[in-house]
Symmetry: C2
Subunit: 586 residues, 2 copies
């Protein structure tokens, strides 16, 4: 089985040819010295670390899983050492704030490293991924004491973070949570309650584990307005910054899961844990939401990482596996990569993974603009695009990631079903990305109910206008003609359904009934758009990579984009066929 | 968690109202005494056995798995006892030949029992399912001595069967297999070779295990024409029918799989095992193919069984889980079954499972007609429909079964990802049904390359004519108007693509490029057809079941059938976008 090959040449094409990464960096104060060459050299190193250290632990970590003994979690063999090597090499602080020990690199570089880590070891990637999420919430909402105490060691990766939101009866609906926080009187609180599904809730990497916990203050109102955010470390910190006594929290059990077995997903009992308020009382959900764009982009990237890795392995297998005769019957056995249906599966995954990466880079560029661009209007516009694209990236990348994992597994036939080849692990691991960090149904509802109505639809219109502009630019390139025309048609369907949804805003169930199909339609159009941009660039060159991009764009146009026909029809049919039936009859 | 409810009222509706099961049985010699009442009373009993005995072993069997110790396989706790109870209650011989201890019930009853078993315990169901496949091959091809020796105890279930086809380098392409059979001179052969992925290759249920093995005789030509079929029992049989010495075969290892952990999938070493030829030398593949219609229908039914069970559990959960507010914002928390997107997932699975069952019954009726109808023309026509529908049932039911398992798991959110709720097991178990017994890609190729060109397309035309006839009948029923109109449009797309494929027969890659999408399109149209039949019948009644069927038919028409738009466009785009790219660039 071929090992994973970091997609550095694809990234070079995207940063150097498709998106003007260097030009953007020059315009962003603090990133002036960053360019594609630097990014690629960093990604080369990251790729080596992923292939050399993390990939070899992926299957053994899945087989061994985590253990809870005497209240302490053990991760699989090799994970603590790999994590320490990861921190020592500086990978944890890549995009962290330089004020607190970070290297201050742009989001674009971060997500490309995240993709590689997700390709080789999804379970491992959650440790730094969640830490970054916690860092984001602390950076934006905590007071300066908390920041000074916790951020440097979290950004360096010496300490990790955990997000404690979900309870048994409060998942999607966090307004139902019951964990309590009682003020002690010295500025600290005692937190009591049980949380479930807590990734990285405990581990054996050493250092400290910083829990961000949603809880209610005494007398807080019901629902989401009564929720506050608290920080509680596993070990209390002495005045000198040293680790002190254990806080009153414990791992109740480890969840037994379908996949990500090397990730300790904990039931956490907070038995009067000492914590501090992060942000304002009653604004806990708000504090969580400010970090969600980054976290949801990260989860979308996980979907991309799995798609890339699974497609690579299936392609490698299809080149080597000899089975059956050529379509014209003249040769056999042939490598199965010659069979049209195998190509269909491989090209579907390839066209989705390439487009995901391109759209991810564009979205991360918008995040970098929103964070640093000197012009406020540019920042605001970019921020709007990030808000619009976030649910799309999270849900569509993970749906396509799962679908690609399944199709890639199928390429291996029976060998895909046995554990030895690792394909079934991709499927099991990918499945969680569609569920956590807000299920993909919740993402779809976020898109249609919150993002689409923003500025009365003008935000979405601005995005569509970007696409139209690139369609016009590409219109003169015959080599990109198929994808350009197909994307224009698909965009028309997206605009039709967008008008339909904006017009139906008064009908309560209409948005929810359309949500999932609309998000998929939106994503396919956005993918068409980045394929137009890639094809327009590829049409100017003749390298194997350029020819591959053009061919994949054409495949995407002819075989994948037609899904937009189905989605448009399903959305326009309206909510009645879902809602008219009584619940008892379902 | 609600336990599985055998869908007896749905079956009663189908046998009694939609299909004239009683009328058909009266016309089939040997089945004159069978009617829907009898079938339903048998299914009631089967349902009790499934819920009482098999369902409780499903999750424990998955957790425990099988073991290989000192060369012997142990199945999970409770499986040997459950299997013996299954045999003692007479379930193994339900549709078996009465000449050899079977009860001679029609295929329709058999597949409905199979569905229930597949819903509660897919791993268990493979033991009797594979035995029936072996029985079928022996019945049709073995000499009378072999039949007399093996069939009675295999049909009673006392002995089980195993099918040994696949080798490490010969999966889809059985022509590459290398297992050898050398004649001893006394009519027996010595079989040498290693087979992989052998379901039920060994177990601890007692009795004997009858292996049907594909192997090559000395001097046999290369490829499929050199393959013969042999029967080799685990224990040789004495003249008095008693079990004698162990044959020279052993379990090399157990495959470690994504799912069906309670099913011992073996690597089998045949080290000179004594066996006997079944059928003619060099006609082994032919002997296997004659039983494949039944086996592939059985695997399709497994997909249906998982879809039914997963949808039921998700629906039960959605009724009880309180989360979020009603669409109009006035009430909360509400049961999530009120949320449109949850309904979309539940109704998609429900519409697919109901249609699968209806189409399965229709196909099984054709098998019963083909086996027993006094009129040869009727038998021949039915046989043609079975040939046409077999790849569709196998591939589409299992694809939809997997998709329904995934969507049902999604309804449970994070709870769907942990093992405790059993939803993730449905996904892992369902996944194999898309792979074994010929991958779904192979089924699709069978449909477009073998079945569609039969009689120059006239076989398919006869099937389309059946659909058109029922569309005309339903045209006068306003309540069935939505599904009737949508199915008529979808049928038009199927006819267009059928003409396209028949016209493109000379282009070698065209069929393969279209295959998977065409099979899905074909299945959706066939589902539309049975929904028209169900809706037409439901329109005449006012029971909750009738209203449920009408509502589900409308949902299927508006939200699922539009997929045919996408599939038509993808097929018509042709093979170029798949085949023009060099393999090296993929």
């Amino acid at each position: 089985m071929t090992s994973y090959a970091p997609p550095v040449s694809d990234i070079t094409f995207l940063l150097g040819e498709v998106f003007d990464f260097d030009g953007l960096m020059r315009r962003l104060p603090g990133h002036e010295d960053v360019n594609a060459d630097l990014a690629v050299s960093i990604l080369d190193e990251a790729g080596k670390f992923c292939v050399g250290v993390l990939e070899p632990l992926n299957r053994s970590g899945d087989e061994e899983g985590c253990r809870l003994e005497n209240g302490a979690v053990s991760t699989p063999k090799g994970f603590p050492e790999a994590y320490r090597a990861f921190v020592e090499a500086g990978w944890a602080g890549l995009s962290g704030d330089p004020e607190y020990s970070g290297q201050g690199l742009p989001r674009v570089v971060q997500i490309l490293v995240d993709e590689m880590i997700s390709s080789v070891n999804l379970s491992f990637g959650l440790f730094p991924g969640l830490t970054r999420g916690a860092v984001e919430a602390i950076s934006r909402h905590a007071n300066s004491d908390l920041k000074a105490t916790y951020l440097p060691k979290m950004i360096s990766g010496e300490w990790t973070g955990a997000m404690a939101l979900t309870e048994a009866a409060a998942g999607t609906d966090l307004g139902l949570l019951t964990t309590k926080a009682e003020p002690v009187g010295d500025g600290s609180y005692r937190i009591k309650g049980t949380k479930i599904f807590i990734s990285s809730g405990d581990h054996d990497f050493g250092g400290n584990i910083i829990h961000l916990i949603l809880a209610r203050l005494p007398g807080a109102p019901k629902g989401v307005k009564g929720i506050s955010l608290f920080l509680a470390p596993k070990f209390l910190i002495g005045k000198d910054g040293s680790l002190g006594a254990r806080n009153d929290m414990s791992v109740g059990s480890l969840e037994h899961k379908m996949g990500i077995h090397a990730q300790p997903t904990c039931v956490m009992n907070y038995d009067g844990a000492i914590g501090w308020l992060v942000g304002e009382a009653g604004r806990g959900l708000n504090a969580m939401f400010t970090m969600m764009n980054a976290e949801r982009l990260f989860v979308g990237i996980q979907g991309l990482g799995i798609a890339e890795a699974a497609n690579q392995k299936a392609t490698g297998y299809a080149r080597e596996r000899l089975q059956g005769r050529s379509s014209d019957g003249t040769r056999g056995p042939v490598a199965i990569i010659e069979h049209p249906d195998v190509r269909r599966m491989l090209l579907t995954g390839r066209s989705l993974a390439d487009a995901s990466r391109a759209l991810a880079i564009w979205t991360a560029m918008q995040m970098d603009i929103a964070a640093r661009h000197p012009d406020e209007a540019a920042r605001r516009e970019a921020d709007g695009f990030v808000a619009l694209l976030t649910p799309v990236v999270k849900a569509a990348f993970t749906d396509f990631g799962f679908e690609t994992a399944v199709a890639s597994q199928q390429v291996l036939g029976g060998h895909g079903y046995i554990r030895e080849w690792g394909m079934e692990q991709f499927v099991r691991d990918a499945r969680i990305t569609q569920i956590y960090e807000g299920t993909n149904g919740v993402q779809a509802l976020d898109l249609v109910s919150r993002k689409l109505p923003m500025e009365d639809g003008a935000l979405a219109s601005r995005f569509f206008a970007l696409i139209e502009q690139d369609l016009r630019t590409a219109a003169d390139l015959p080599a990109a003609g198929v994808i350009t025309k197909a994307t224009a048609q698909a965009l028309g369907r997206l605009e039709t359904t967008t008008r339909h949804l904006l017009a139906a805003r008064a009908a309560p169930a209409e948005a929810g009934a359309a949500a999932a199909d609309y998000l998929r339609l939106f994503a396919l159009v956005a993918f068409g758009w980045v394929w137009v941009r890639m094809a327009a660039q590829a049409a100017t060159g003749q390298t194997p990579l350029h020819r591959r991009k053009l061919a994949t764009a054409t495949f995407f146009a002819e075989r994948v984009l037609p899904q937009t026909l189905w989605l448009e029809a399903a959305i326009i049919s309206g909510a009645a066929s879902l809602m008219d039936i009584e619940a008892e009859l379902l």
